[in-house]
């Protein structure tokens, strides 16, 4: 007597509405990031003035048809400088976070999966890196290697590794206890297969969400460095150095400081919004009750 019941209603649990509500705010944030990103990439082809051409007669000019956002204290086109500044900010922001997420993510996953001595070593290393005063480290490295975009990116990237390691390790630790990982081991899967096929897809979404928050933080860090004169050397524009220059004429031409500050504010906010939304979507299941 076979009592095997073939489900007559393999209709499963009712399918969830495919479209998840992402909200207008999220779409605006994505649109802004795309706008800034595209402008930065294609800056050389855009019909804008050179960011370094000075116009000594038109210093601190208010917005006009020739200069949509006015000119700075040396008569350079503000719009153009903002766009070229975005190049620096986004390059540093994205690339250093990429360094952090790859190195930190890999270290964290390995530490969380294999545990043991590797974990002790990694956690110890990360703690040392975190304890080291970042500004001193930056100053030292930049003083020796020079203030180039590449060096700044590398240094900020290395400094962001600990945070990514911690996130990846925490997620991997909790996942490694889950039965599907044990099931894969019981099937005779190799470590690399478990790490790549079982763990990585589950670790990657929280990491991507954290990556976007990292980009936002890095843009601010780069701005702060430029503001302190540790960023890309002049005359190349960067949002931080533009704020620093604008600060001197806050009383007569406030937009010189507020325009780059506002751009940076909106960009950072946009990355944060996208990161938060993605993090909320991290769970593959539909939102809880």
């Amino acid at each position: 007597m076979a009592v095997l019941e073939i489900d007559d209603d393999t209709a499963l649990v009712a399918p969830v509405a495919k479209r998840r509500k992402l909200g207008g705010l999220f779409l605006c944030a994505v649109a802004w990031i795309l706008l800034i990103g595209l402008a930065a990439v294609f800056a050389a082809f855009l019909p804008i003035a050179s960011p370094t051409d000075m116009d000594m007669l038109g210093k601190r000019a208010p917005p006009s048809a020739a200069h949509w956002l006015g000119t700075d204290s040396l008569g350079r086109d503000m719009l153009s400088r903002l766009i070229y500044g975005a190049r620096v900010s986004l390059t540093v922001g994205l690339l250093s976070s990429v360094i952090g997420v790859t190195v930190g993510g890999a270290l964290g996953m390995l530490a969380g999966y294999f545990r043991g001595r590797l974990e002790t070593f990694t956690v110890g290393g990360v703690d040392v890196l975190l304890a080291f005063p970042p500004l001193v480290f930056l100053l030292a490295v930049l003083a020796y290697l020079g203030q180039t975009v590449l060096n700044i990116t590398l240094v900020i990237g290395v400094l962001s590794i600990p945070a990514f390691t911690r996130v990846a390790r925490a997620v991997t630790l909790s996942l490694s206890e889950r039965e599907f990982v044990v099931a894969a081991r019981a099937l005779g899967a190799t470590h690399s297969r478990i790490l790549l096929r079982e763990l990585l897809p589950n670790v990657s979404l929280p990491l991507v969400a954290f990556f976007l928050l990292g980009v936002a933080v890095t843009i601010v860090v780069e701005g702060a460095l430029s503001f302190l004169g540790l960023g890309v050397p002049p005359p190349a524009p960067s949002w931080g150095s533009m704020i620093a220059e604008g600060r001197e004429s806050l009383d007569i031409a406030p937009w010189l400081a507020f325009l780059p500050a506002g751009t940076m504010f909106i960009t950072v906010l946009a990355f944060n919004i996208v990161g938060d939304t993605l993090r909320a979507l991290t769970d593959p299941r539909p939102g809880a009750l």
């Binding site: 009592v3 019941e5 489900d7 007559d8 209603d9 649990v13 009712a14 509405a17 009750l289």
Partner: protein, 331 residues
């Protein structure tokens, strides 16, 4: 059953919004419990038994919509102000949850949690509360209660934690105790002890108790009346002995038959219930059990059977084609 009911649940429905649409968790349920009686509520996961207990306690999620009346000790709980409710919970209405690990605060000692409850609700001074706390722990069968007061929940075993949770629930001498799957997380030998403890305290204090469980075996020996829930509705309700001797609703009978019996030989195929409970966000027009029921016909698909009083035996069932008492020979 001469006592007037302490709690009467009248036409209570609970609706919850979910990503898949409105979920009717509880569908027009009527129940009552008198002081000194135990009502068993039996059902599988998702049948609405936990939402029903939350509705009685007025601890529903914010988004849930409740309709109907919940009369407790002469007051309609639905109409009460949050302040009045707060004063009611504890002294009059207490609850024991399934998982004693999460229902106790992990960073406070057992003593702090127990004594603070006594101070807050019973207005006891600290020394009196401490003395009462020790008595309560001893009453629920915890050895060396003086030392336990200083321990944290994680230092106790699961059964001990559930005993502490029961002691806290009993501390304010409640009139009604709701035990929501109190033994599901525990081992069989510990389960028996906890159920005995609950029954003993219920008798001694002349409390009303609602014992919520998925296990027909648990309600069989320890309740006066049983309500069986399926897909948000009460589908059968009867005094416990009547229910087991005159089972009328095919679902109840199938549920009982699906439990492995100790006296049947090994490798006996179990009479399983085909399929699964219906999706609560897509309510059926007819009887919710019809898709899985061997007795179902067109009428069952078309109209929901009401919960009717059965003949002379004092039970109620919601079925168009009830089992005849004779047909339910002991499974």
């Amino acid at each position: 059953m001469t006592n007037p009911p302490l709690l009467s649940v009248e036409g209570v429905s609970v609706e919850l919004p979910t990503p898949r649409g409105q979920l009717l968790a509880v569908d027009k349920v009527d129940l009552e419990v008198a002081a000194g009686r135990t009502l068993g509520v039996v059902g599988e996961s998702g049948c609405g038994k936990t939402m029903l207990s939350r509705a009685i306690l007025q601890l529903l999620p914010k988004k849930a919509a409740l309709s109907g009346r919940i009369m407790f000790d002469g007051q309609d709980m639905v109409q009460l102000s949050p302040e009045a409710l707060r004063r009611l919970r504890g002294p009059s209405l207490a609850v024991v949850f399934q998982n004693p690990m999460t229902s106790l605060n992990p960073v406070l000692t057992i003593g702090t949690q127990l004594i603070e409850t006594l101070q807050a609700h019973m207005g006891m001074a600290a020394p009196a509360a401490a003395k009462r706390g020790i008595e309560l722990l001893a009453a629920v069968g915890i050895p060396a209660p003086e030392q336990r007061l200083r321990q944290y929940p994680h230092q106790l075993s699961g059964g001990m934690r559930q005993r502490v949770a029961i002691a806290i629930a009993l501390s304010c001498e409640p009139k009604l105790l709701i035990a929501d799957e109190p033994t599901t997380a525990l081992d069989v030998t510990v389960q028996a002890q906890i159920l005995d403890l609950l029954a003993r305290e219920q008798q001694r204090r002349h409390m009303a108790m609602i014992l919520i469980t998925h296990d027909l075996g648990v309600v069989a020996g320890r309740t006066d009346e049983v309500a069986v829930m399926y897909a948000g509705r009460v589908v059968e309700r009867a005094p416990t002995t009547t229910l087991f001797s005159h089972m009328r609703m095919p679902y109840t009978a199938a549920l009982l038959a699906a439990i492995p019996k100790l006296d049947s030989p090994p490798h006996t195929a179990l009479p399983a219930i085909a399929g699964r409970p219906p999706d609560p966000t897509r309510p059926l027009r007819g009887c919710s059990f019809a898709p899985r029921c061997s007795r179902a016909d067109d009428r069952c698909q078309a109209a929901k059977p009401p919960l009717d009083t059965a003949d002379h035996i004092g039970g109620q069932y919601a079925c168009w084609h009830p089992l005849q008492p004779a047909a339910v020979a002991r499974a």
